[in-house]
C-alpha cells in the first residue's frame, strides 16, 4: 500500500447527556491509505458514525474529544481552527450521509445545492463554469437529463436519485477522502448496487480514498479493501477483506458473518442471531464490551479489556481467546 492519508490514533469521544457521560468511542485507531476503501462495520450505537463525524468535526456541541489525534495529510484535525476546518470540509474531505431524503435542502434547486459546494471553495469560478461543472458531475453520477434536472427540487427526485445528487456534491471538488455514512441503507437493493458501482468508479477515476460505514457485511464484501469491525465504541478486529470472511478472529465477527443470509444455505439451518443487545455506554462493561453476549466468554473477558493480538501484518483482533495462555477447548481461534 502507498502512503497514509488519514491516521486516527487512540480516539476517545464522550457525549454529555442528562443521564451522564456516554463514552461513544473508546481508543479507536486506524489508518486509511491513498486510494483505499475501508469498511467500518458494526451495529447501531457501536460508535462508527461518531468516529467519522469527528473527522470533519461535525459532532454536536455535547460531544467532547477526550483524547487522541486525527491526522489528515499534514494536519492535525483535532487542533485546526474552525476556518481551516471549513476549508477542508467539502474540498479535501467530503461526506455522503445515510438518509438522502432529508439530507438535501427541500427549498433549494438541486443544481444550486451542488454549485454551492464548488462556489464556496473556489469563489473565482464564473457562473458558467459552475453550471458546466455541475452538469458534468450530474453526468458522472448518471443523472439523466442533467440540464432539466438542474432546476428540479429534491422532492421531485427518488431516493436513489437524491443519493446520486449527494454523491455528485461530495465529488464536486475531487476530495482526497470521502466518508460515506451508510449511503445505501435507506435505498432499495437494486439502487444500492448502482450506488456501490459509482463508488468504485470514483475510486478508480480519481484515486479517492473512501471510508465506508455500514452494518451490512454483504456490502463490505462487494466494495472494501479492508475492514474495521467496531463494537461498544472499540475496534474489535481489523483485517483485509478476504481475511475477515475466510479467517475471522473475533467472536463478534463470527456472529456477524453467521447472521448473513445465503441463498445456497440449507433452509433447515436457521440464521444465527447474536443474542442480547449492545451495551449501555453510560456505564460500559468493565471488560470486553462483547463479553455479555459472547458464546465463548471466559471469566477474564468480563473483567479486563483485551489488547490487540496480531495475527499477521495486516490482521489483528481484540480477544482473550487469542492469548497464548487461553485454553484450547471451546476456542474457535486456537487449535
Amino acid at each position: 500500500m502507498s502512503d497514509k492519508i488519514l491516521s486516527i490514533d487512540n480516539l476517545n469521544i464522550s457525549f454529555m447527556t442528562s443521564n451522564g457521560e456516554v463514552q461513544a468511542v473508546r481508543g479507536v485507531s486506524f489508518d486509511v491509505h491513498k486510494g483505499e476503501i475501508v469498511g467500518l462495520v458494526g451495529e447501531s450505537g457501536s460508535g462508527k458514525s461518531v468516529t467519522c463525524m469527528s473527522i470533519l468535526r461535525l459532532l454536536a456541541d455535547t460531544a467532547v474529544i477526550r483524547e487522541g489525534t486525527i491526522r489528515f495529510e499534514d494536519e492535525e484535525l483535532t487542533r485546526v481552527s474552525k476556518a481551516e476546518m471549513r476549508s477542508i470540509r467539502g474540498d479535501k474531505i467530503s461526506m455522503v450521509f445515510q438518509d438522502p431524503m432529508s439530507s438535501l435542502n427541500p427549498l433549494i434547486k438541486v443544481g444550486k445545492q451542488v454549485e454551492e459546494i464548488i462556489r464556496i471553495h473556489y469563489p473565482k469560478k464564473t457562473k458558467e463554469q459552475l453550471y458546466q461543472e455541475t452538469l458534468e458531475l450530474f453526468r458522472k453520477v448518471r443523472i439523466p437529463e442533467p440540464e432539466k434536472r438542474f432546476h428540479s427540487y429534491p422532492h421531485e427526485f427518488s431516493g436513489g436519485m437524491r443519493q446520486r445528487v449527494m454523491i455528485a456534491m461530495a465529488l464536486a471538488n475531487r476530495p482526497d477522502l470521502l466518508i460515506a455514512d451508510e449511503p445505501t441503507t435507506a435505498l432499495d437493493v437494486t439502487i444500492q448496487d448502482q450506488i456501490l458501482k459509482e463508488m468504485r468508479t470514483l475510486r478508480s477515476d480519481y484515486g479517492t480514498s473512501i471510508i465506508f460505514i455500514t452494518h451490512d457485511l454483504g456490502v463490505v464484501a462487494e466494495l472494501c479493501d479492508r475492514v474495521e469491525v467496531m463494537y461498544g465504541g472499540m475496534i474489535m478486529e481489523q483485517a483485509p477483506i478476504d481475511d475477515i470472511f475466510e479467517n475471522p478472529k473475533h467472536p463478534y465477527t463470527l456472529g456477524l458473518l453467521s447472521s448473513i443470509p445465503d441463498v445456497t444455505q440449507d433452509k433447515s439451518k436457521r440464521l444465527v442471531p447474536i443474542p442480547g443487545s449492545p451495551p449501555d455506554m453510560t456505564n460500559p462493561p468493565k471488560g470486553c464490551p462483547f463479553a455479555p453476549r459472547c458464546p465463548y466468554a471466559r471469566n477474564i473477558c468480563a473483567n479486563e479489556i483485551p489488547e490487540f493480538y496480531t495475527i499477521d501484518e495486516n490482521h489483528s483482533s481484540r480477544c482473550w481467546l487469542l492469548d497464548e495462555e487461553a485454553p484450547l477447548e471451546d476456542n474457535p481461534f486456537r487449535t
Partner: protein
C-alpha cells in the same frame, strides 16, 4: 481470583437486561415535570392563587360591593401629616377632606369641617377641639395650623385598614381582588370544561366515525375556524346581556374547535393501532372502545390543550371586562378592575397595578404549567 479462563456464566436474562430505569407513564411524566423549575413554580402559583381566591374572603372584613365614599382612592402607602398632639396622622382625601389615621396606619373617621376660608385657600377642620387647616393654594395640598401657618410635619405610612388601598368608590381593593380572581378562575375553568366536553365529543366522534361523517364534520370545523371568534364572543355577549353566565356561555361554546381538531387527530391515529383491533375482536361496543380505549390514550394532548386554553379564557374574560361588556357591576373581575383603574391611572396607578399583577401571574403560571406538561408528555424528548 477464580480461574480466569473458566467459562463466563451469562444468562439470557443478563443479555436482555433493560438498561434504563423503569417508571410508570404517570411517574415518568411527573418526574420530568418536577425537574422543570418553571413548571413547578407555575403549579405553586396556581395553588396559592386558588387559595387566595377561595379562602381569602373569609379573612377580610369588607365586602366587594359595599361603597364607602369617605375613603375614596386611598392608596396603600399614604402621605400623612402628624397632628399637633402627635397622637395621630391626618390624610388628605381626594375630595378635599381630612381623614384621621392612627399611628399604626388604621383609617379613622373624617374630621368635621368648621368653615371655608376661600380667601386664604383654606378649609378649616376640627381635630379634638383644635383647628387645623387644609391649604389648597398649591400642590401638593398641605395641612397647617390656621393661626401660625406652621405646616404640620409629613411622613408616609402604610395603609393598615385597606392593605392594597381603595378604589374610586371606596371599596377595598384586596377584597375585590379576591372576588375578581375567583370570578376569573371560575369563568376560565367552567368555560374550558364546556369546551373540553364539546371538543372531545365532537373530535372523538369525527375521528372514530371517519369517512364521510368525518369529512363533513371537519369541513364544518374549517368553516368555523375561518370566522374570527372574538367577534362572536362579543356578539353572544350582546345577545345574552352582560353577566357571569353569559361570559361562560360565550367562551364555552366558541373555543372548542382546536380541542376537536386535537382529539380527532389523536383518535384517527390511535384507532389504527392493534389494541383497538383487539378490543373490537373481543366484541367491545363502540362506546367502550371510544371512551375507555381511545379517549384515555389522547388524555395527554387533551390535557396540554386544556391547560393552554385556560389562560386564553382568562385573557378573553379580562378583555371583555376591559371593554365594558363583561360583568355587571358591582361584581368584580380582574378585567373590570383594570378597566375601572384606567380612569384614575394618573393619580392612582396602584389600582391598575394589583389586578394587572394577578392577571400576569395567572397567565405566567398556566403557560408554564402547560409548557411543562407538554414537554413532560412528549416522548420524543425522552433520552
Amino acid at each position: 481470583m477464580e480461574n480466569k479462563w473458566g467459562k463466563l456464566k451469562a444468562t439470557n436474562e443478563d443479555r436482555e437486561k433493560i438498561w434504563k430505569k423503569n417508571r410508570t407513564f404517570a411517574g415518568d411524566v411527573w418526574f420530568r415535570f418536577r425537574h422543570k423549575p418553571t413548571a413547578l413554580a407555575g403549579l405553586i402559583i396556581i395553588a396559592l392563587l386558588m387559595f387566595f381566591a377561595v379562602f381569602g374572603p373569609n379573612f377580610t372584613d369588607y365586602s366587594y360591593s359595599k361603597q364607602n365614599l369617605d375613603v375614596v382612592n386611598v392608596p396603600p402607602r399614604m402621605r400623612v401629616y402628624e397632628t399637633a398632639d402627635g397622637e395621630a396622622y391626618l390624610y388628605i382625601t381626594q375630595n378635599m377632606k381630612l381623614l384621621e389615621v392612627s399611628k399604626d396606619g388604621h383609617l379613622g373617621s373624617q374630621l368635621e369641617k368648621v368653615r371655608e376660608d376661600s380667601g386664604r385657600y383654606m378649609t378649616i377642620f376640627d381635630y379634638k377641639g383644635t383647628e387645623v387647616a387644609l391649604y389648597y393654594g398649591q400642590k401638593p395640598y398641605l395641612v397647617a395650623d390656621p393661626e401660625t401657618l406652621v405646616i404640620y410635619p409629613h411622613t408616609t405610612v402604610w395603609n393598615h385598614s385597606y392593605l392594597l388601598g381603595t378604589d374610586s368608590l371606596g371599596r377595598d381593593i384586596l377584597t375585590r381582588l379576591m372576588y375578581g380572581t375567583r370570578v376569573s378562575l371560575v369563568v376560565a375553568f367552567v368555560a374550558v370544561a364546556v369546551n373540553l366536553i364539546i371538543g372531545i365529543a365532537y373530535g372523538g366522534i369525527s375521528g372514530y366515525a371517519g369517512g364521510n361523517a368525518d369529512q363533513v364534520m371537519m369541513r364544518i370545523v374549517d368553516i368555523i375556524s375561518t370566522i374570527p371568534l372574538t367577534l362572536y364572543v362579543i356578539l353572544i355577549m350582546v345577545l345574552l346581556g352582560s353577566g357571569l353566565k353569559s361570559i361562560i356561555i360565550a367562551l364555552g361554546t366558541v373555543y372548542w374547535v382546536d380541542m376537536a381538531r386535537v382529539v380527532r387527530g389523536q383518535v384517527l391515529s390511535l384507532k389504527q393501532q392493534d389494541f383497538v383491533l383487539a378490543a373490537r375482536t373481543i366484541g367491545s361496543p363502540t362506546k367502550t372502545i371510544l371512551f375507555q380505549h381511545l379517549v384515555p390514550n389522547c388524555m395527554g394532548s387533551i390535557l396540554v390543550t386544556a391547560t393552554m386554553l385556560i389562560p386564553s379564557a382568562i385573557f378573553m374574560e379580562a378583555f371583555l371586562g376591559f371593554l365594558g361588556i363583561g360583568l355587571r357591576p358591582p361584581l368584580a373581575s380582574l378585567g373590570t378592575m383594570c378597566n375601572d383603574a384606567t380612569e384614575n391611572l394618573r393619580t392612582c396607578p396602584y389600582q391598575l397595578f394589583f389586578p394587572a399583577l394577578v392577571i400576569v401571574l395567572i397567565m405566567f403560571a398556566f403557560n408554564f404549567v402547560g409548557d411543562g406538561l407538554r414537554d413532560a408528555l412528549d416522548p420524543k424528548l425522552k433520552k
